[in-house]
Amino acid sequence: MRRKIGKALVVGAGIGGIRAALDLAETGYGVTLIDRAPSIGGVLSQLDFQFPSNRCGMCKMLPMVERDAASQFCLRKGLFHENIDILTATELSAVEGEAGRFTVSLREKPTWVDAQRCIGCGLCRTVCPVTVPDDFNDGLSVRNAIYLPVPHTVPNTYVIDSVACNRCGECIKVCPTDAIRLGAGLRRGFRILVVDDEAIVRESLRDILDEEGFDVSAAASGPEALESLDAGAYHLMLTDIKMPGMDGVELLKAAKAAHPDLIVLMMTAYATVETAVEAMKVGALDYLIKPFDPDALIPMVVRPFEQLQASRDRRLDVGAIVLSTGTGYFDPSAGKGNLGHGVHPNVVTALAFERMLSGTGPYEGRLLRPDNGEPVERIAWLQCVGSRDIQADADFCSTICCMHAVKEALLVKERYGEAVACTIYYMDMRTAGKSFQRYRDRAEFEQGVRFTRGRAHSVSWDADGRNLLIRDVGLDGSCREESFDMAVLAVGQRPAPATEDLCRLLEVPTNAWGFVQTEALSACRTQRPGVFVGGATAGLKDINESVIHASAAANLASRAIHAAGGGIAPEASGEVVYRDVSRESAAVLMVLCACGEGAEKRMNADALKRRFEKDPSVQQIAVVAESCTDTGWDRIAELVAGGKANRVLIGACHPYAYIRRVRQLGAQIGLDPSLIEVVDIFEPAWAAARAGADQATDGDVDPVLAQQSTRIEMALARLKHRDPDPPPAIDVIQRALVVGGGIAGMTASVAIADHGYAVDLVEKEDRLGGNLHWLNRTLEGESLQELRDAVTQQVTQHPNITVHLGTEISGGYGQVGRFITTLRDAEGAVQTLEHGTAVLATGCREAAAQSYGHGQHPAVVTQRELEQRLADGTVDPAGLSSVVMIQCVGSREEPRNYCSRVCCATSLKHALTMKENNPDIAVYVLYRDMMTPGFAETYYTRARQAGVLFVQYETTAKPEVDFGDGGVTVRATDPILGKPVEIAADLLVLATGMTPRMAPALAEAFGVETDADGFVAEAESKWRPVDAIREGVFACGTALSPRSVVESIATGEAAAQRALRILDQKRLPAGRIVAEVRHSLCSRCERCIADCPYGARVLSPDEDRILVNPAMCQGCGSCAAVCPNGAAVVRGLREKSMMETIDAALAL
């Protein structure tokens, strides 16, 4: 893979960070991806099931072209990409410079296990005497002090929780590779001074910390402490605040003046917490409240100790920074805590419930009551816990919880059906996304999930003290109570841990609740140029949105680096030329790792040698000690260089640990890395060791040896037949076509053109701007007219963009890399364009109003009409006394059963405008569910404060309109009064939602599929949200699904970034595992064409043969299985190789 001049830093390796990093890496940038956690994956490592398939599918995010640059295995397991350096347990500690030229410092926290040496054998875990609650399962299970942070990741390197660890040293004794560094000696080198006037406190602290292995001294007063500090080099001082004579704060000031690096922790009684907080302002790190729990004290001391131990900050030059630090969660046990979390074991968070359903979870995927392990029969989901709650300082919606609850309820229903009753208590069911409403309907009407509108206010025990009693108040004010086995709390979002520090460091402002504040009209730009947010950093998002925003942030980062002239020079990496071994017969160098001392005796190298030296394809067998270390690796390189081997088979431990190494070795010895394979031969030995001593042998054959032999033999069969020639590639026309000149299309055009590629922007109308010609401003008050003018100017003046106004697409064909599209302008003139990719931004229009007397009475308008009339003054709020708005007109029910996402916000915008202009105006909003996800919720609150009245209605009792005596009368049932109401309206505003404008002919020209509603069908709604199923075609804006202007801009940027992966190379290589056609055997039956899920195969009329587009083919092998003649073959998995592998598997 080529490397571009330029590097980026991505902070946070959850789904957003991974997407941003991959998008940048795929366009050739070097990326450093860091995460505070010891593993990647973020919250998604805990979530097994995703809406709407209720399965995973994260692997679909991996590169589709030039696949071999990245790992080709489950993404939840881990990630490898040639251009991405992943640094876990690492934090950003400093940033200097400006966009294009940042210098960042990264600080690695010690995990006490050497990742280079740990082979994940797990022997350490079997001897660890400590058990603590496992965060991974949200405390529902326990783990040891030495543990795998995520059970399914690779490299499966253990880490030590140094707070829980008692440093008994048992793990060190059993570790076969000597990987564990407990740092016991290091703790003795950490000097702590305890200052307290009470001897008993001093002594107990001294004992506690001494037992933790630290070097502790004590002083009885301030002056004595200062003396001690001067005499010896202390790292940390723990001081009481209230002491006779010199008090703690004075001591702190004096100590800090003399020893600025000293870490100070304050101890205080409740009464002086304020003083302690003051102390933090003058340099104390933290404070403890007396009397304190050693469990609270120890982490406070261990943390600064570990920071001190952190290897020196690594400095790095990067052109741009992407923040995707994810989100934190509200702690339902804190605060009012009347929902029983932390009190009753059967009250769990939504995340914990998700873990309960997981196969790697605490109950191995079975749904059991946490209190007694019995089956669960009745579950209640309580929404909005710590969200939409002004008392909890949370005047925002956490966006994802409604769908999360629906998904969890559906999962339960799909598994247990009638046996488990599921109830969701909610205020508004926010199904504001593509296909969300139908998903909810499926849960409600097909699976029988009960949706109850109401906010539960308390959870207690029921009469027999066994189950939970949940109380809530219905809309009519009645108190209700019901008994459940379990309650699942939809805990709301909070800023990710350390967001405040990170923002201070980056000089990026936060919003009122501590989330990163993005710039006006951008979802991803921050105030600081060159620093962007992707994922949930600026507010919780579902996967679809996180991925879109991450791609958009990657695009902005790429442009920042590009604009700075490429920025920082990359590491030297010339194009590696591999030896051509295609005409040689297989000659395998077999290397057997003797591992460390502890492992040597577990392998019978002589027996293995005897067995395999007979194989004609094995050229040499060598035993190398510690093949995972640099020395071992150099030895392997020497062996290859010395012999004539053209394949290398390394029998060692986990192959995943060697991915990077294998590539380095390949480059070093000039052998294509695909001809080097690592096979795990130690696992059988470890399994035997864990099972206890040596198992009885079956007759003459040592079972471990037999398994090792089979593993090697199978690997040999695969390796022998591996295709040695380089993978095919396609030529790319480095030019893009964008269809649609609305805000999304214009944004995408600029985002591509800014990278120096030519863009043709085709617009059907005779002007650019689309819906921004009538949209006046956003809910937040930003002018959309100014935005339209600014972006239009940018587009028309851009040297790389050619705008085709009044032009339509009349036809097209071709595949990724080369599309041929015909344009026809208003005069009928035809023009043909060749381009490598296409971005479709055909947008939406406001749906036509077909009810409530629109078109019959002048006082009935749509939201669009109101927007225009408020702007041009034809509607003047001052002249109105009563306005009624009806939401969801023709929306969220068949046939348009989707939420248009923007109408609620638009109604709030108009209602607030009218209230501002005329406080006496009565505004009534008749709604089904108010859809104000995220921080838009504040406007809902504001509207209610301004006196706008909201009346909820159900589809079974829709509002009725009557034009009796010339006026407009709206009738509805107010659920709070429980009575029908009649409202006389001067103006009736209908929120009709959006309908897509994608013409069928256009979709056909690009081979794009549309869903039942006419929106572009994404390749995958969560993992590839702006890609069409057809490679090389992307969509953005409302062509995909209804969304706001800001969100449309983000999709435009995201689609551009996805297109750039292709445009960026003249020749695009395929993956190694790719289909081919043996034309001499092919009967042109075309079954393979029908079977190819990617449309990569065509029957060429010119050549009369089947052709495979290698960039579209993903190597699934469907064609090979369906071909009746053996003419469709998959490189790397040919029939011969498969057959020999089966033979090898059954040889013993």
Binding site: C56, R76, G120, Y1094, E1135, A1145, L1146
Partner: protein, 140 residues
């Protein structure tokens, strides 16, 4: 035949079941030791002849396992496998094999436990059938 330890060939897809098998391994779950994993990119590429070959070469049981429906990395490969395996089960008796020696399952990447359970169940099922007679017949 209670102590008969069957040899099982498991054709697993690269994305889901292989990961689950790996997880079962790293989670130290017990499953029959004579399971031989053959990794393919997708169950949709498994040619019925591979299964027949494995049985003819003496495998006592064969597992084909991929991603759950709707979760296939390659969109729909697992559905193709389902069709093929159904037909294959129909014709296995003609080769002299009990259809119970072949199993098709969907095991997701995080279902390490399910993988181990599936292997244990299949092994138990095959144990009941006894060792494959294929090799013996071949000799005759």
């Amino acid at each position: 035949m209670t102590d008969f330890e069957p040899t099982i060939i498991a054709f697993v897809c690269n994305w889901c079941t292989y990961t689950a098998a790996d997880l079962a391994g790293t989670s130290r779950l017990a499953y029959p030791k004579n399971v031989r994993l053959i990794r393919v990119m997708c169950t949709g590429m498994i040619d019925p002849q591979y299964v027949i070959k494995a049985l003819l070469e003496g495998a006592d049981g064969v597992l084909v396992s991929g991603c759950h429906p709707g979760d296939c990395h390659y969109i729909n490969g697992n559905f193709k496998a389902r069709r093929r395996i159904k037909l294959l089960k129909e014709i296995l008796p003609r080769f002299g094999f009990e259809p119970q020696r072949l199993r098709l399952t969907w095991i997701g990447a995080s279902d390490g436990i399910q993988f181990a359970e599936t292997m244990n169940k299949l092994a138990a099922q095959v144990r009941k059938l006894g060792p494959s007679q294929a090799k013996l017949k071949m000799v005759i």
